[in-house]
Structure formats: C-alpha cells, structure tokens
C-alpha cells in the first residue's frame, strides 16, 4: 500500500465530501428539470419496495416481539405490565421501525446500487450513456433516490405496524394480556411528535441509502475489485450514516417539540 501524506489524505476527504454533496444536491434538483424518468422510477420502486417487503415484515415482527418480551420482564417486576403496549408502540414507531428498516434496505439496496453503477462505470457504460446524450444523474441516480425515499417511507409504516402486531402476539400469548387493551394503549399513547419523528426518519434514511450507494458506484475505480470495494463501502457508510443521522434527527426533533 502506498503511503499518502496527511495533507493529500485531507484533500481527498474534502474532495469526496464535495463530490458527494454535489451528487446528492443534483439528484434532487433533477426533479425540476426535464426529462424525468417515471418508468425508471417505477422500476426502481418495484425493485426496492416489493423486493424488500419480506425482510422488512420479518424483521419488523420479530423486533416488536422481542421488544415486548424484554420490556414485559422489567414491567412485571414493577407490576405495570399494562404499559407494554405503550412501550412497544413508542419504541417501534420512533426508533426501531425506521432504523431497522433503513439498515435492512441499506444492506440490500445501497450495495445493489453501488455494484450496478460501479459495473457500469468500469465497463464504460456510463461514458456510453453520456455519449448518447443522456445525463446519467437524471436517468440513473434521481429515479433511485426518489423511489428509495418513497418506498422506505411505506416500508417503515409496514414495519411499525407488523412490529406492533408482533408485540401484541407476545403480550397476549405469553403474558396473558388482553389484546384489546394492548392495542388501544398502543394507539393512544402515540402523539403527533412520535408519528412525525417516525415518518421524517425514513425520508432522511432513504435519501442517505440511495445517494451513498450511487456515489460509491459512480466513483468506483479499478475493475471488478474496485466494484466489490465500492459495494462494501456503500453498505458500511450508509449504515453508519443512518445511525449517526438518527441521533441528530432525534436530538433536533426533541429540541423542537420538547421531551415527552
């Protein structure tokens, strides 16, 4: 491995951040420019949404279930098992639903985008597209970003919902709670602030997943190995970013709405 001087290293980082920001900005700005690629958007939406549905349903259900399981033990000790519905619903909707769905989709689609675009770069297909007069950021990146945001939003709602069901099953079957009581306390405890947090996060995460995946793909260098590296980096970077942004977004929303 070649040694790079600290200044070169810093320059590289600044350059990458700048390139990423440009790509991310352009991916949204393209929405306001012609042509728009609805067919490609639909195709991506299908790939991301329908393709991710099974894993999102599975992780959502089990997360809700394990959340109920864990909290039930603690709550039982204080004799307040009836709070279980509220705990599961707030935990799922504000935090676990968005983050876990985001991480699942990041693992599945951020890598997919990086490898697809990366292969197109190393086989000159991106250059060919530019040569044919088509802007790859419009044709390839914008549809991916928009459909990821859109699909992650709905996937998160589904994940929250099946999580609540999973929690309900555990509470009623294993702890003998009344299903109706569980369900009404789960619903009633949700405030506007929780729902807002829970729906804002997937929008941010969807944007991160798609732009990071596309960025690593588009900047892949060095053949098949380079594409492999880009794929791994995309998953790592988008996952870490999701968790970091989750913290800051939560902090920001809390400071706006105040603590519950």
């Amino acid at each position: 491995m070649e040694l790079t001087s600290p200044t070169d290293f810093a320059k590289d980082i600044v350059q990458s951040v700048q390139d990423y920001s440009l790509l991310a900005g352009r991916s949204l700005a393209n929405l306001f420019r012609h042509p728009r690629y609805f067919a490609d958007m639909m195709q991506q939406a299908d790939l991301i949404g329908v393709g991710s549905l099974p894993i999102v349903v599975l992780t959502g259900t089990f997360t809700g279930a394990v959340l109920a399981l864990n909290s039930a033990h603690t709550l039982e000790r204080f004799g307040s098992l009836s709070l279980i519905g509220q705990l599961v619903s707030v935990g799922m909707v504000t935090e676990l639903g968005p983050v876990l769905t985001g991480l699942m989709v990041a693992g599945r689609n951020s890598s997919g985008m990086a490898s697809e675009l990366g292969s197109m770069v190393v086989t000159e297909q991106i250059d060919a597209m530019r040569a044919l007069g088509t802007d790859p950021t419009k044709k390839l990146i914008t549809p991916r970003v928009i459909s990821t945001i859109f699909m992650l939003f709905f996937l998160t709602i589904i994940s929250d919902f099946v999580g609540l069901i999973g929690g309900g099953i555990v509470s009623s079957l294993m702890f003998g709670m009344d299903w109706h009581q569980y369900w009404s306390s789960a619903w009633q405890t949700l405030k506007f602030q929780d729902v807002f947090t829970g729906l804002l996060k997937p929008v941010l995460f969807g944007f991160i997943i798609a732009t990071v995946g596309c960025y690593y793909g588009i900047s892949a260098r060095g053949g098949t190995q380079g594409v492999g590296r880009a794929t791994t980096q995309a998953v790592v970077a988008s996952s870490v970013l999701i968790i970091a942004v989750d913290f800051f977004a939560t902090r920001l929303i809390l400071s706006i709405f105040g603590y519950r």
């Binding site: 042509p35 297909q125 250059d127 060919a128 530019r130 040569a131 044919l132 007069g133 802007d135």
Partner: protein, 282 residues
C-alpha cells in the same frame, strides 16, 4: 440521393467545404496525473472527411475521441465541435451536442442489462417523441445495416465480440449523426468480420457523407478505405479505378509520444521521408 457518389464528386465536395471543419483541436494537452498523454496537438476534421488515427497502444488515440466527445476535459487548449467550443461548455449543455455525434467505444460499451433492440433504440427512446413503430422500424433498419437483424431480442452477453462491435455501430448510426467516432472497430476481429465493418464505414462515408474519426491499429484497413468507394447501385464496396486512388475523403493521422507526427492523405503518407512513418507503414 440519386446518383452514386463518384470520386470526382467527392473531391469537389471536400475542396469546397474545406473551410468548415466539424472538429478542430487547437493546442490540446492532457495528462493523467503525472503521465502526459497529449501535448499541444492541433488538427482539423473537415465535413464529410474520414480521418484514421494511428499510434502504438497507449499513445492517446482513445483519449482523442473522448476529448472530441467532451467526455474528458483537456488541461489546456481548445476543442471546437460543430462550431461550439466544448472546453467551455457545462456538462448539462454538452448532452444536446452529443446527440449529433455517434461513438463506437473500443470495448463496445453496450448496456448489458438491455437487449440489442433496447440498446440500439436507446437514443430514439430518449427523444420521447418518436412512435413505437417508428422506433422499431429504425432499429431494424440500423441492425440490417450491420447484418444483425436476427439478434434483436438477445442480450449483449449472448453475442460474440464482433457482433457486439457491430451492434455498437448500429447504436451509433441509428439517429444518422453528423459525426461518427469509431474506436478500433476492427480490433481483434477476423479478416472477414473486419472487412464487413470496413465496408460499413466506407458506406457511411460515401453514402451518408458522415464526417468521422476512426481509431485503428491496422494501417491496412485504412488503406483499403482509401482505395475503395461504396457503389450504391451494386450495394457494395468496390476498388477505385487506377489513377483515382486516394480520391475519397480519407486522411491519416499518426501519433507518437504525445505529438502528431503525420497528418495528411494517402499520397503524402506514401511519400513521407520520416523514418518512423516509413517503418510504420511498411
């Protein structure tokens, strides 16, 4: 499009339009990191002319085509394409210009997740105004031109290298661009397939009067192009009559160590005194 082009016609055409180059490089230099690839090169491509570019591997031939397409930016110098200084243009504005240019990449660069039909139709579909039937008709016509009509529903990975090269040509010519850039269209192909491709290029030159830059590894191919014309009545390439050799709009450009060491027609090439060129053409 009535009479077949005669050599005399072509000669007239080239002289009268010599003042309007479609591509002009002025003192263009480019380096990749520390590796200087082209140094202050200047040349013109006139309307209707086909210019064959030669040079050893790594001499910057593909780079010249990418520069002409605006895919890479030079470090210094000016490149005019169809009257636009492309070095000053933003990427967004270049897309419009690029639609008037067709490019055949060295490794074909077909979209591997699209079928042959979708690859060839790509540009037509991007224009968003052409009807499905019209697209289908033009795709077929273009594929017939390269004799690959029966591959329409196949994927590029199911084709041979030579077939892929021909699909790439079909994709480049489907919109009848004003300029064609061919990167090693005959590289690594058998003599029969390369002759087919040479005939296609000669047809583009003589029938459709397309201006083109042609990167080649084999001087022989370019000699064939300079000594043949496309006979529209007979529908094939024929040798020029003796005495009219070189009367087609065909020129040669040789690169060496980042410089142009030769730029001229076949007669000038045959009479060059330069040692390197003599060795190259022998």
């Amino acid at each position: 499009m009535a009479a077949p082009p005669t050599a005399v016609e072509n000669r007239l055409r080239t002289t009268e339009q010599i003042q309007s180059p479609v591509i002009a490089f002025e003192d263009v230099s480019i380096a990749f990191e520390a590796n200087s690839v082209l140094e202050d090169i200047s040349f013109h491509l006139n309307r209707g002319e086909t210019k064959a570019i030669f040079g050893i591997a790594g001499s910057g031939k593909s780079t010249i085509l990418k520069l002409a397409m605006g895919l890479v930016k030079p470090d210094s110098g000016r490149i005019d394409v169809l009257g636009n200084d492309i070095t000053q243009m933003r990427e967004e504005d270049l897309f419009e210009l690029r639609r008037q240019i067709g490019m055949v990449f060295q490794e074909s660069a077909l979209f591997d997740s699209l079928t042959v039909r979708e690859n060839v139709a790509f540009r037509l579909m991007e224009e968003h105004q052409i009807s499905e039937e019209e697209i289908e008709r033009r795709v077929r016509e273009s594929l017939r031109f390269v004799e690959l009509e029966r591959t329409v529903d196949m994927f590029p990975s199911e084709l041979s290298g030579g077939m892929r090269r021909r699909v790439a040509i079909a994709r480049a010519i489907v919109t009848r661009p004003e300029i064609l850039l061919y990167d090693s269209p005959t590289g690594g192909l058998d003599p029969v397939t390369s002759t087919t491709i040479i005939e296609l290029i000669v047809k583009q030159r003589d029938v459709y009067k397309t201006s083109s830059l042609l990167v080649s590894h084999r001087l022989q191919d370019a000699f064939v192009m300079a000594s043949h014309y496309f006979d529209r009545d007979k529908g094939r390439m024929l040798p020029l009559p003796p005495g009219a050799r070189g009367d087609v709009p065909m020129t040669f450009l040789i690169l060496r160590q980042g410089k142009i060491i030769f730029d001229g027609d076949i007669h000038e090439l045959a009479h060059s005194k330069d040692e390197y060129i003599r060795e190259y053409i022998s």
